[in-house]
């Protein structure tokens, strides 16, 4: 213990050494991006609202227990059909006497689950193909580009209508189909980025040191792509939710009695003069969800690349 006292008396020899300089403001890319994101009030509000929405929707049974007397989404009393909003049914009831508020929550589960699944599928597929196309080039690039061209030419909504008539999809098969039809944007972005990255010096350096292609891709290139991919993922998520809603609204997509925001709108359409709230609410839920996602994605983009602000 006395040694410390001795050391304290010594002049601080090492502080002038460049490597031991006190570190102050050199934050990493992620740290500074998060800080920038947090400074943008609109994005943060959107994030909070979105998180609350997600938690409420995915805890729907619990929320229903606490606030809506544990009503179930697909059980209704025919004598209660088209009840106006009351204390018992906050947003009224639909044609078969089911509580609209509870159905909205459960419908959100389907819509969000489809959205997240589609985003996950299209991201993993898109990133993989984009990496391969950009990195290996040559015949891989040509093949993947051709595939992207073909997929972009297919009139997506028409194919979706066709498939959902023929296959009568569950929500997860619908999600898989949507994912398989929606990865092209990610691939294009990632490919472009990888093309510019693969000739940088540090990639050459890694190769000189004997790193394999996959290691270079995974360790050196992928981290540089992640930020853009995250932003695109946001737009994919929104696109998937919108596609599902449109499809279910047309009467395809998710089948009743399972509720989704789209098919609730479809059901409510006949009775719009009788129960306008049922046409308004599902659309409002879609709107709020999409708005939050867009704002978060915009905020992320600005945070990752501040030069893009105001664009």
């Amino acid at each position: 213990m006395s040694q410390t006292g001795v050391e304290l008396d010594l002049p601080p020899l090492q502080t002038n050494h460049p490597s031991k300089r006190p570190k102050k403001s050199s934050r990493g890319f992620w740290r500074s991006s998060i800080d920038r994101f947090m400074q943008d009030r609109v994005s943060v509000i959107a994030l909070v609202v979105f998180l609350i929405l997600c938690v409420t929707i995915f805890c729907a049974p619990l929320v229903s227990q606490i606030f809506f007397r544990g009503q179930e989404p697909n059980k209704g009393n025919l004598f209660d059909s088209f009840k106006p909003p009351s204390e018992e049914h906050v947003l009224g009831t639909d044609k078969t006497g089911r509580d609209v508020a509870v159905r909205l929550l459960y419908a959100g589960q389907i819509s969000l689950a489809i959205g997240f699944t589609v985003a996950a599928i299209s991201l993993s597929l898109g990133v993989l193909l984009g990496l391969v196309a950009g990195f290996f080039g040559g015949i891989w690039d040509d093949a993947i580009n051709a595939l992207v061209q073909i997929m972009l030419t297919i009139p997506t909504l028409f194919i979706l209508i066709l498939l959902s008539v023929l296959i009568l999809p569950e929500w997860w098969s619908l999600a898989i189909v949507l994912g398989l039809l929606g990865w092209m944007g990610v691939t294009r972005q990632v490919r472009g980025l990888v093309l510019s990255l693969r000739n940088l010096d540090y990639v050459d350096a890694a190769r000189v040191m004997g790193a394999s292609n996959w290691r270079i891709m995974y360790v050196h290139i992928l981290p540089n792509v992640v930020s853009i991919v995250l932003v695109v993922a946001g737009f994919d998520l929104a696109g998937a939710i919108l596609s599902e809603a449109s499809l279910s609204f047309l009467g395809f997509g998710v089948r009743p009695p399972t509720a989704s925001w789209g098919n609730m709108l479809n059901n409510a359409l006949e009775f719009y003069s009788k129960a306008p709230l049922q046409v308004i609410m599902p659309g409002l839920m879609i709107f709020i969800t999409l708005l939050c996602i867009f704002l978060i994605a915009d905020g992320l983009r600005d945070a990752f690349d501040p030069r893009l602000r105001d664009r």
Binding site: L163, I167, F287
Partner: protein, 320 residues
């Protein structure tokens, strides 16, 4: 130029072929074909069903069916509809003309996005710019068909209360009076809904392009040599910022067609979307393939034309 054109045309044909192969496979391998519907009818004996199958040519192996279909397409014979019995080309053509009205109206209204984008860029950071940005974000998050529903509800409520019908609630013309004015009146709401996504895309794109061009050296040079602000804007800024717009035209086509399906559906417009949905419910393969073929041709053609037009307006683009 000639070689480029030939290569692009060959590419486009291959692309079209690939799209059709994929659509054909998806359609025919999915369970629940037209015969499944017939089999659910108790009056149908198995022999009748197999007779119908033979008549429609569905008993042959898939590759044979596909080759027959393609051979028909080459001779401009797209087959007959399973349910209506009429030639596909007649049915699709009629519907396509009706959809064209919407596409045209939507595109023309959509061009409004250009001045909006230029205006926002010129007033960057001011209240009007921010207002436009907020509005585009909000409008982008609203499903446009839902907006259409709300408008219909409001109009019908207004008609019920005030007795004045501001807009028609659907259809293409008032029964018994098919005048141009009446047609235009029916087109207002659907074309506006179709145009919305164009307006949003154009105004954003034009705004960011204009902002980029405004800061270029040649714009500063033009100002420095005393050119009038109006001329700078017209000859230097607008010209260069609007050229890239051509490229996004082609890319927007698929989503335009998707939008048309929804708008036609809520406003019962007798176009291609409506036809497709009916045909899909009835598993009318020839109609479905015909519409997908038609749309794919339009999309591919749109992209090709956009590429060519880009080369014409921008001399820096070379074809080789």
């Amino acid at each position: 130029m000639k070689r480029f054109l030939i290569r692009r045309i060959i590419q486009s044909l291959l692309l079209l072929f690939a799209v059709m192969v994929i659509s054909f496979i998806l359609m025919h391998t999915a369970p629940g074909g037209p015969l499944r519907l017939l089999a659910e009818d108790p009056r149908m004996s198995p022999i009748t069903i197999s007779n119908i199958e033979e008549r429609l040519g569905l008993h042959e192996p898939l590759p044979v069916q596909f080759v027959k279909w393609i051979w028909g397409v080459v001779r401009l014979d797209f087959g007959n509809s399973f349910i209506w019995g009429e030639p596909v080309i007649v049915l699709v053509w009629d519907a396509a003309i009706n959809s064209l009205w919407l596409t045209l109206g939507g595109t023309i209204l959509g061009l409004l996005g250009i001045p909006i984008g230029v205006y926002a860029a010129r007033h960057r950071g001011k209240l009007s710019d921010n207002l436009i940005r907020v509005l585009t974000v909000v409008l982008n998050a609203i499903p446009h068909w839902w907006l259409g529903l709300l408008v219909i509800i409001m109009v019908s409520n207004f008609a019920a209360d005030g007795g004045v019908k501001l807009l028609p609630l659907g259809g293409m013309y008032t029964f018994g009076q098919d005048s141009l004015l009446d047609r235009l009146w029916h087109m207002i709401l659907p074309s506006f809904l179709v145009a919305l996504s164009y307006i949003i895309a154009f105004s954003r794109f034009v705004r960011s392009q204009t902002l980029e061009v405004i800061n270029q050296d040649y714009v500063r040079t033009a100002r420095a040599k005393g050119m009038a602000e109006k001329v700078v804007n017209r000859a230097h800024v607008m010209r260069n910022s609007l050229i890239p717009l051509i490229t996004i035209f082609g890319g927007l086509l698929p989503s335009l067609f998707g939008g048309i399906v929804l708008v036609e559906s809520i406003l019962s417009w007798p176009g291609m979307g409506t036809l497709f949905i009916r045909a899909a419910f009835e598993r009318d393969y020839p109609i479905l393939m015909g519409i997908i073929l038609f749309l794919s041709i339009l999309i591919i053609l749109g992209n090709l034309l956009a590429d060519l037009a880009y080369g014409v307006v921008d001399p820096r683009v070379r074809y080789n």
